[in-house]
């Protein structure tokens, strides 16, 4: 009967001696080397994460969105920014989009910030984007 700790320790020591006979099978080593040297190419998504670790996705993604936005305003063939001669409060920009968008004010001296805008059509039927001139100050 195994009632005492010392007896259990003796049995465990004997068991350990028996366990010394247990060896890793010889074929495991070859399988390991075959698995490591497999010519299989890494999947694209793993290659992607190698160069773009997950912790960088958020700032990279945000920067990409900003870049796309900035380019879309600057490169838009119809975009042109000017201060309305009638109301210096208004910055006019012609854009090809038909919906309200956030734009970056490009007026000279204006502060960089986003502002809500409104798309209107002027008297000649051209689409104009109306935003508040951030450089405007009431006199």
């Amino acid at each position: 009967m195994v009632n005492k700790d010392t007896e259990l320790d003796q049995h465990l020591a004997a068991y350990k001696e028996a366990l010394d006979d247990v060896k890793a099978p010889a074929e495991i080593e070859a399988r390991i080397l075959a698995a490591v040297q497999s010519p299989e190419q890494p999947k694209v998504r793993f290659a992607f994460t190698k160069y773009f670790p997950r912790q960088n996705w958020l700032p990279w993604g945000f920067a990409a969105v900003l870049a796309v936005f900035g380019l879309s305003v600057v490169l838009s063939p119809d975009s042109a920014v000017s201060v309305s001669p009638d109301n210096p409060k208004i910055v006019l920009a012609s854009v090809s989009r038909q919906y309200p968008v956030r734009v970056h004010s490009l007026a000279r001296g204006a502060e960089w910030r986003f502002m809500q805008s409104q798309v209107i059509k002027d008297q000649r039927g051209n689409t104009r984007l109306v935003v508040v001139n951030p450089a405007w100050r009431s006199e």
Binding site: L8, A18, P25, I32
Partner: protein, 187 residues
Amino acid sequence: MSSDAKLLRKLSAGGNPGVAFETLYARHKDAIYRYAVVVSQSSSIAQDATQETFVQMIERAGDYDASRSTSAIGWLYGLLRNNVRRHLRDTTVELQAADEGVSLSTERLVELSSAVTQLNAALPQLKVEQREVLYLVALQGLDYEATSEVLDIPVGTVRSRLSRARSALRTAMQEGEHSETMAVIHG
């Protein structure tokens, strides 16, 4: 003889695993395999888990923190433990473990005392976490701190699990002894 840390640095440099892998493998393969056998109580799981552990050793050699120890055995045990547990989760081997037990050779079992064969038969009745602690502390001689690092549990938990493991083992061996006695009495 190069330390594990130096060999792992060579492995992390990439290219052919070569001598660095062979040396590390020869040094630790049996201890790793024995842990897998005792904890999983399945030689097939033990082989798969051992293979996966050494593949991970090659692929993650750069992750090894040499400042913790020059011997990588603790780190390898940690990798192995996750692999064994994943296999146990994915299969119903625990139900089979009572029959399969540890694959000691028949000749060796005959040489050993009946109490050792009872211990061999009792191990499958312990929980996985109990076998883990029992192997590392009682069979491999790791101290509580090293065991707590391998298993990623507090030192106090190591002590309590070991105590429960020993108690469960004693109970299982006594029950096994009783069953044998009854079998002898009733023929």
